[in-house]
């Protein structure tokens, strides 16, 4: 177990650092590429959306009979974010608190 954990965390660390460092090492050809620049501009919003959907879906799968709690907490997160001044922490806290309350109290 211990060695598995150490190996997994080390692998995660090496890959993450590699992904952050490699582009700086070969930045010049990358910068010249219009295609790469377009991707850099287009990707963030879409990747975030994919991350959000995948994580939300995993949560729904994990609590199949309580799927509406996931949707309710997500709706609260978005509503608080849009109507309470886009304060990131406040929105996350409101959504998470809603979810914890629903999961533990109902």
């Amino acid at each position: 177990m211990t060695w598995y954990l150490i190996a997994a965390i080390a692998i995660g660390g090496v890959i993450t650092f590699g992904l952050r460092a490699l582009p700086f090492a070969m930045l010049k050809p990358l910068r010249k590429s219009k295609f790469v620049r377009s991707l850099g501009e287009w990707m963030p919003a879409g990747i975030l959306l994919i991350l959000a959907v995948v994580v939300l879906r995993d949560e729904i799968v994990a609590r199949a009979d309580q799927w509406w709690m996931v949707l309710t907490a997500t709706a609260v997160t978005i509503a608080v974010h849009l109507f309470c001044g886009r304060r990131v922490l406040l929105s996350i806290a409101a959504g998470t608190a809603t979810y914890i309350a629903l999961v533990n109290l109902l």
């Binding site: 995660g12 939300l56 879906r57 990131v88 996350i92």
Partner: protein, 250 residues
């Protein structure tokens, strides 16, 4: 480290460090509770306590750390972990295109800056005028952000150990974070086409590849963006507008 990074034209080192600390406060409010959530999750997943600081020091990439806790607890194969980390963190490749790394002193400081290039650090410094950016300021900001993570994780461990019974649902903090970041990202209309393509990609991935949705969605999304680029290029890049990209959705 910071003492080696002074650049005299930006005022005394103390001022630069103070700027760096102030830069980090805003995102820190978001990072710290996620660190606490990480610590709580590590305890509730039944993992050894050292996993929390180890994740925040060795990997230091917020969302992946939270994802890894559940994967580690489930004993996911190392290859799956490697592919997931690669897929989720692949976006960092694009940070290099615009992060002001040239403002950071080369050598160890620059290596740390690359290692600690989390989403929040990128978001904080990418749009700041280069004149205001000093090595000490950026490094201080990044060190502070990592401290919020590590210390938040330790506090989360303590909280979880003190709780009489496990409280479920903390993992939603990750979903909420991504949701909020998505809402902010698609705020500008220019990002809507990308979001639509990503929605298409993830919908297909969920239906066709339920086993590895994340990777399938990211690969599909990249392919759709390549198609979009090709279409844009054919229609002439000068008049790139929202309407054109919508055609690529089909």
């Amino acid at each position: 480290m910071s003492s080696a990074a002074q650049t005299p034209e930006q005022g005394p080192l103390r001022t630069q460090i103070a700027h760096g600390v102030r830069d980090s406060l805003g995102v820190g409010i978001g990072i710290f509770p996620l660190g606490v959530a990480l610590g709580i999750l590590v305890v509730q997943a039944g993992l050894p306590l050292w996993v929390a600081p180890a994740l925040s020091i060795v990997i230091f990439a917020g969302s992946v750390e939270l994802l890894l806790v559940s994967m580690l607890a489930a004993g996911a194969p190392l290859l799956t972990i490697a592919v997931t980390v690669f897929a989720v963190n692949f976006r960092h490749v694009f940070y290099a295109l615009s992060f002001p790394l040239s403002r950071v002193r080369s050598g160890l400081p620059r290596a740390y800056s690359v290692y600690a290039l989390i989403d929040e650090a990128y978001a904080t410094y990418v749009l700041m005028p280069a004149k205001q950016l000093t090595s000490a300021r950026i490094l201080t900001g990044q060190v502070m952000m990592q401290l919020y993570w590590v210390v938040g994780g330790l506090i989360g461990l303590a909280i979880a150990r003190a709780l009489p019974a496990p409280i479920e649902g903390f993992e939603f903090a990750l979903a909420a974070t991504f949701t909020v970041m998505t809402v902010d990202a698609v705020r500008s209309r220019r990002q809507v086409p990308s979001a639509l393509l990503a929605a298409l990609a993830v919908a297909v991935a969920i239906t066709a590849f339920p086993g590895n949705t994340m990777l399938a969605a990211l690969v599909l999304f990249a392919a759709l963006l390549a198609v979009r680029y090709a279409l844009d290029a054919r229609r002439g890049r000068n008049e790139t507008g929202d309407g054109q990209a919508e055609g690529a959705t089909e």
